[in-house]
């Protein structure tokens, strides 16, 4: 009896399979015919990292821009491939090894893109840049994508790193926004005494801790020390760079960071701030939507979020208007693309359209200049964009400035520094060794 039942199921499955395959083959044949009709259609493959799920707004804007472009250029068809951030990075590297990059894709500046440029994978975009695009960008942003005087990508984002804080928690303990580091330590101590975690940090991702170190280095030694140490005109064993490492460990000793920060990812760290379990959070301006327009986060929490500039250190050389930050992803065109000219035109169109749309709807602070008086933006945005305009200096993220192998050392050292497994002196020494070995 049972055997009969199984053979019946088997027979039905086979019938079903036959029907399905039988139906599908004429379909594929007809779609093949369609394409043959429009022989002169140009297809541009575009790979980006804004999936409809996790980056809904960005994804929508991308689709609108593509649609608009296809309407204006009916002979062009743009095919998207969307991957999430980490997968995107992996895939980009693997397909570039076999020289199969998409016609248009996204890259990060400086150290990240250097091997691609040296490997002759990206094409220079200077002809379009000087054809009326350069004026669109905030001064100095395209330089991060330049190697040996040629620009290989156009930035879409420009971020700075403010120190966000929870106004309600500050008010509860009568705390003032600190402008110098002593006052900041006082804030931390008061919060610790009251059993509130002062700072949310997810240092499993390591670059998150690097932000703290970079600011302290900037405030102690001025904006050039770290940059010079990395580009080898200076040294990492500079007094202020060692001192900055010491200050990080002082904060660790004060219990300034949430419990288990070295094992938490940035998202886990962030959720401590979002759940109002931690009072402060040092993170890029890309988080602004979460504190202004994101409906999934309670309104009362969003209203409570403010930010301040990283406090100055007494006797230090850095000023309060110097920021850590820099351009984020940018668009490149592949060197071996068969449709290079069309791809370049598309990139030009994309950066022209992106800016205002991006800030108004996706909350991305774009690398193109924004007229804050015309757009209707949340106050937090206007403040950040204005501060961006007043910035005396923007130091590019250390791990982006460095070459990959050095960046890896830096990030590991950051984790050790925060975990107190390395002394500030050894921390500096390891950096110096790695930088010297690479001849960065």
């Amino acid at each position: 009896m049972i055997r009969k039942k199984y053979s019946l199921i088997f027979a039905l499955t086979m019938v079903f399979l036959l029907v399905v395959t039988g139906c599908s083959s004429p379909n594929t044949a007809s779609s093949g015919n369609e394409q043959a009709d429009d022989a002169e259609i140009v297809t541009i493959n575009f790979m980006h990292l804004w999936p409809a799920g996790s980056s809904r707004q960005q994804n929508m804007i991308v689709n609108e821009i593509i649609e608009e472009y296809q309407d204006a250029n009916p002979h062009v068809r743009i095919v998207q491939e969307v991957l999430e951030n980490e997968q995107y990075k992996n895939k980009l590297q693997i397909i570039s090894a076999s020289n199969e990059l998409p016609d248009v894709g996204m890259t990060w500046p400086a150290g990240f893109m250097e091997p691609y440029v040296k490997g002759n994978r990206f094409t220079p975009l200077d002809d379009i840049l000087h054809g009326g695009v350069k004026e669109l960008f905030v001064a100095g942003t395209t330089e991060a994508y330049a190697v040996d005087g040629k620009t290989y990508a156009f930035p879409l984002e420009l971020n700075i790193v403010p120190l966000y804080y929870n106004k309600a928690i500050f008010a509860e303990y009568n705390l003032e926004v600190p402008t110098d580091f002593e006052a900041f330590k006082h804030v931390v101590q008061t919060l610790v005494d009251n059993k509130v975690a002062p700072i949310a940090l997810g240092n499993k991702d390591r670059w998150t801790g690097s932000l703290w170190y970079m600011y302290l280095a900037d405030r102690l030694g001025g904006p050039e020390v770290l940059t010079n140490a990395i580009n080898r005109t200076g040294t990492f064993e500079d007094e202020s760079l060692v001192k900055a490492a010491e200050e990080v460990q002082n904060l660790v000793d004060m219990n300034a960071f949430v419990r288990g920060y070295n094992g938490l990812s940035n998202d886990e760290g962030k959720s401590e701030f979002l759940n109002e379990q931690a009072a402060m959070y040092l993170m890029g301006s890309w988080e602004l939507p979460n504190f202004t327009t994101n409906d999934e986060i309670p309104q009362e929490f969003r209203d409570n979020v403010g930010y301040f500039k990283f406090p100055t250190v007494d006797g230090g050389k850095g000023d309060i208007d110097s920021w850590v930050g820099g351009p984020g992803v940018g668009l490149f065109v592949a060197e071996n693309s068969p449709v290079k000219e069309e791809a370049k035109q598309f990139v030009k169109f994309f950066v022209e359209r992106w800016g205002d749309q991006a800030v108004a709807r996706a909350g991305v602070t774009p690398a193109t200049t924004v007229d804050t008086s015309v757009l209707e933006l949340p106050q937090l945005y206007i403040d950040v964009l204005n501060d961006l305009g007043k910035a005396s200096n923007i130091t590019l993220f250390a791990d982006v400035q460095m070459r990959a192998a050095v960046a890896e050392t830096h990030l590991n050292m950051i984790q050790s520094l925060f975990g107190k497994q390395v002394s500030p002196e050894d921390y500096a020494k390891k950096h110096e060794e790695a930088l010297a070995a690479e001849g960065n």
Binding site: A97, K204, R259, N262, L264
Partner: protein, 292 residues
């Protein structure tokens, strides 16, 4: 039919598809990895032949040897835990009530993807809101361990998750092997007055010794090349405290853009696995098949 199958050409024809697939998907990448291991290559630009430089670097790389140590530690724990799995399988096969349901429950972790398991254990180990630490706080423990952030315990915290992940797999293998033992043997022993312990120790285990050998090889090799949970849960951190060979290889190739060195590590890992497999087989080889 026999005539057809004895024709060498026909045999070759039937073997060919599988052979081609295994050659292109398994063996040629191995050869390529060996080749890349002799190069200085960032994965994108030009390759430069450096001979055995990557391997000499490997021998003096303390981070690498630390990851080797961690991998072997994992292999050791996996093998030890096999005994526990065998015990569970013996109990399950011993006709206890609900054995069927229990067997299915043990197998559930096998059905989850590694990333889902990693997410689950990340919640369990969360320093403030995790199950374990909430319980410890509730019980009034002062100095709560920071499971994944403390370099001294992170490795063992992950080991527990890995052993849990594979428990069902080995229990199922043992269970199937035990079920294959003819009932008549056990009955005969019982009539002769053997205790359940004696039946297990003197009859069942020797009879499935071949399966046990296979599981030892599987556990050791699987541990040596283990990657998934480590990558998702800690990414080898904090500062290499939970780094294993495979995650270190990944980092060198894909994070530091050092494909040559990464390939050298990969090739070395393959050699280690081969040698270990050979060693285990040598050590556990028995002259004759056990029969009763």
């Amino acid at each position: 039919m026999d005539k057809v199958m004895s024709d060498k050409k026909v045999i070759a024809l039937y073997v060919l598809p599988a052979l081609l697939i295994i050659l292109t998907l398994v063996y040629s990448p191995i050869v390529m990895t060996g080749y890349y291991g002799l190069m200085k290559w960032d994965g994108i630009g030009e390759m430069e032949f450096v001979g055995l430089a990557n391997y000499t670097r490997l021998l003096s790389d303390s981070m690498f040897w630390q990851s080797v140590y961690h991998s072997f530690l994992l292999a050791l724990f996996s093998v030890i835990s096999l005994a526990a799995y065998l015990l569970v399988a013996l109990i399950l096969a011993g006709k206890i009530k609900g054995a069927n349901v229990l067997r299915k429950i043990y197998l559930i972790p096998m059905l989850l993807s590694s990333v889902a398991i990693a997410q689950l254990w990340l919640r369990i180990y969360h320093p403030t809101n995790g199950v374990i630490n909430s319980l410890l706080t509730f019980l009034g423990v002062e100095d709560i361990p920071l499971w994944l952030a403390d370099p001294n315990i992170v490795l063992f915290a992950i080991f527990i998750a890995i052993l849990w992940q594979y428990a069902g797999f080995y229990i199922l293998i043992y269970y199937a092997a035990l079920k294959n033992i003819p009932e008549s043997l056990i009955e005969a022993a019982r009539i002769d007055g053997a205790t359940p312990w004696q039946i297990a120790y003197k009859i069942k285990i020797p009879l499935i010794s071949n399966v046990i050998k296979v599981t030892i090889v599987l556990a050791v090799v699987g541990s040596l090349k283990y990657f998934d949970l480590i990558y998702v849960m800690t990414n080898g951190g904090p500062n290499g405290a939970s780094e294993v060979m495979a995650s270190y290889m990944y980092k060198q190739a894909f994070r530091s853009f050092d494909f040559g060195y990464g390939s050298a590590i990969g090739f070395f890992l393959l050699l280690i696995c081969l040698v270990i497999t050979w060693l285990i087989r040598k050590l556990t080889a028995s002259k004759e098949e056990i029969q009763y």
